[in-house]
Amino acid sequence: MKTYEKSAGFFPVFERKSGPAKDATHYCPGCGHGNVHKMIAEALNDLGLIDRSVFVSPVGCSVFGYYYFNCGNFQAAHGRAPAVATAVKRTNPQAIVISYQGDGDLAAIGTAETIHTANRGENICVFFVNNAIYGMTGGQMAPTTMIGQRSTTTPHGRIEALHGNPIRMAEMLATLPAPTYIERVAIGDSKHIMKARKAIRKALTIQAEGRGYSFVEIVSACPTGWKMDPVHSRDWLIEEMLKVFPLGVFKDESENRDENSWLRRCDAYDPAKVDEYLDRLKSTLGDAAPVALTNDLHCKFAGFGGQGILTLGLLLSQIGMRAGQHVSWFPAYGPEMRGGTANCSVNVCGGRIGTPLVDTPNLLVVMNQPSLDAFADQVIDGGTIIIDSTIVEGRLDSTRLRQVLIPATAIADEVGTAKVANVVVLGALVAATDCFPREFCEDTLRAAIKKRSLVDMNIDAFGRGYEFVKNAR
């Protein structure tokens, strides 16, 4: 005599289940979940995958998948199982990951996760139990509810004009290039069940071999939600549901995809490797002995976008950093950037920097007229304003400020390109403030400019700006 035992894919006793009946599932008589659970548990065990399997059950009747499956279990938020499954698989590509979802979960609240997980071709199995109703929450309309079918939220039956049509997920997903295998099966008669069993095994095998994403839609009965007895439910499923949800393979690329071609990589944390990597991110300006700063600089740089205003601020910041000073750089971003203007605040200080925003600069650089109009009044008494006199026509009549006029763009043209006008201004700034020694600044520029071929031009530009101011004194 042959004895049939519960698969080792299930827990021997369902201890996590509340109530006295620890050997039976919580599913209703005639529900398809029991069949599908059994087929998955048997397949995981037979294929030798159960030890490394992770079963993700989101909200719906199958939220209690973890009562039954003798593997690792995640309970997930409504519709999010594919996102959770994606992360589990990516973090441990050797895990066998199952996203087990109902129709509301997969095709309504979790539609985005469903489509994008398929579109990324995640190497997981999605088992989709389509029973055309919300079971857990009390028989409401599902995205797969049939036209005319009554539910607690379509009391007069589903009407196309009001509720849309039942959605065919297998067909939709089959339009995507990435998925490997998409089939719709049914828990109808025994012939259907044997086909479903085969599809589930195939999907798990594809995953185990690293051949990519599988989606098995299982049309299934919900006698309680449908308000039918189990026998009539299965007849209705076969006679009515399969008209809208035809069975078949919608996509099968399993033969065309190499083993492990869809396995992604995630290495374990290795502090030594991280240290080595982070070392590459450090500044390449080279070590320098601290260089004294004559006066704290609170600068505002302003001009048109494309004049290298932000870069000018960054170059001064890098000189300050290499000199061992405290430095901050903050770009205006968002609405202030409209109209093609750019500005940034830079602080270079001997001590800790308070606000990184420079509202009242002691040094203002303006490279266009609107910037002069906007910021000149903010400069503190006795402050310095450097003006690119090639571009800016206006002059301040105030004696409150020290004005440095330099035809920076014209000088840059002489050097070879107007693009280095910002570096001409930097030379002028260093000369006007004597903040750091000229040579130190030039050394920093040489290290900071990544493109070797541009170094000489920039040093030339810097030197001309510097000389212009020094000679004007």
Partner: protein
């Protein structure tokens, strides 16, 4: 010394890598996107995971997946995106999963704008999603702290098996400062007793936030509550700046504290006794130290980029013993140092709001 001049947003990623974070899940949003840009570059280069998710909701649930495996993971966003993460955060808190979530707070409500604000304070410090839970919330005020507090956030998340949040703002995210690049953490937390990793040794483990029986769910909530009380007792961080003899104690965090440093210096130069108490953890809030200052301070002033959120916690800490004033700008407007100085002068000469 390994240093680099970098954006606060980039410093977060450096801190995360050095903390052993292996997986980043994100969705683009200004002004937090640089975090995703840096993660996209660095995580795969170090054999880690980077996914640009289909939504903030999906990104947060991906964090739930990796966190449930006991592996360090994070996501980052800005206010509207952070709202979408509340579902996943509640699930992480319920299932007690350690993870780090960054919010580079911008102007709200609704789509608001992309300028700096601090108006997500309630959402971050009072729970945000459904149910009884808290986020451990750290508020850096410069690029170095963006790095260092991210590392600390991972440690605290692991220590308490709870999500931790970095609450920064558009300025702290966008500005560049000199950052000392940290050494990678060697010690790692052992989550092998509960995590689900898809390996034979974790078969039978369950990551879940569902507890059907009311008696059991009450027990679970009380257990979480006891954990939150331990965090409140042990993990409060703050900075005092010129505060011990201050008549007026300013309470401010994040970028606002930077403006207040400058304003306090100016006030002191005028002989005004003003000091700053800066919460570094905005949850747990430094209530005890603020209460303790009631002996020396004559009044408190909360300064925020909001219409008044943290000020409620200052009032709870002061318990009516001293006046608690409020000064706020919002919508992306940031107070200038002079503006704050004028407020200090007004309050110290007997004015009030």
């Amino acid at each position: 010394m390994a240093r680099q001049f970098m954006k606060g947003n980039d410093a977060i990623v450096v801190g995360a890598l050095a903390a052993g974070c292996r997986a980043y899940y994100g969705y683009p949003i200004t002004p937090a996107s640089e975090i995703a840009h840096a993660a996209a570059l660095h995580f795969p280069a170090l054999g880690g995971v980077f996914i640009q998710a289909e939504s903030e909701v999906a990104a947060m649930n991906m964090v739930y997946g990796t966190a449930g495996m006991g592996v360090r993971t994070m996501t980052a966003s800005s206010s509207p995106g952070f709202s979408l993460k509340q579902e996943g955060l509640s699930y992480c808190a319920g299932a007690e999963l350690p993870c780090v979530v960054v919010n580079i707070v911008r102007g709200g409500p609704g789509l608001g704008n992309i300028a700096p604000e601090q108006a997500d304070y309630f959402q971050i410090t009072k729970g945000g999603g459904h149910g009884n839970y808290r986020l451990i919330a750290l508020a850096p005020n410069g690029a170095q702290e963006m790095c260092d507090l991210t590392m600390l956030a991972f440690d605290l998340a692991d220590k308490y098996r709870n999500p931790a949040c970095i609450m920064a703002d558009g300025i702290t995210g966008q500005m560049m400062e000199v950052v000392e690049i940290p050494t990678a953490k060697v010690e790692q937390w052992d989550h092998s007793s509960w995590a689900v990793t898809g390996t034979p040794d974790t078969v039978g483990h369950l990551v879940s936030s569902i507890t059907l029986e009311p008696e059991e769910l009450e027990k679970h909530n009380l257990k979480l509550d006891a954990k939150y009380k331990r965090i409140m007792a042990d993990e409060v961080l703050f900075e005092k700046y010129a505060v011990d003899d201050a008549d007026l104690v300013v309470v401010a965090y994040g970028v606002v504290s930077r403006i207040v440093y400058s304003a306090v210096d100016q006030a002191r130069a005028e002989g005004l006794k003003v000091g700053l108490l800066r919460p570094i953890t905005v949850w747990p809030f430094p209530s005890e130290v603020i209460g303790g200052l009631c002996g020396s301070a004559k009044a408190f002033l909360a300064v925020e980029l909001s219409t008044g959120q943290m000020v409620e916690d200052v009032r709870l800490a002061v318990e009516g013993r001293r006046p608690v004033h409020f000064y706020g700008r919002c919508g992306g407007m940031v107070p200038g140092g002079d503006e704050l100085l004028a407020e200090f002068r007004r309050l110290l000469s007997g004015g009030s709001r």
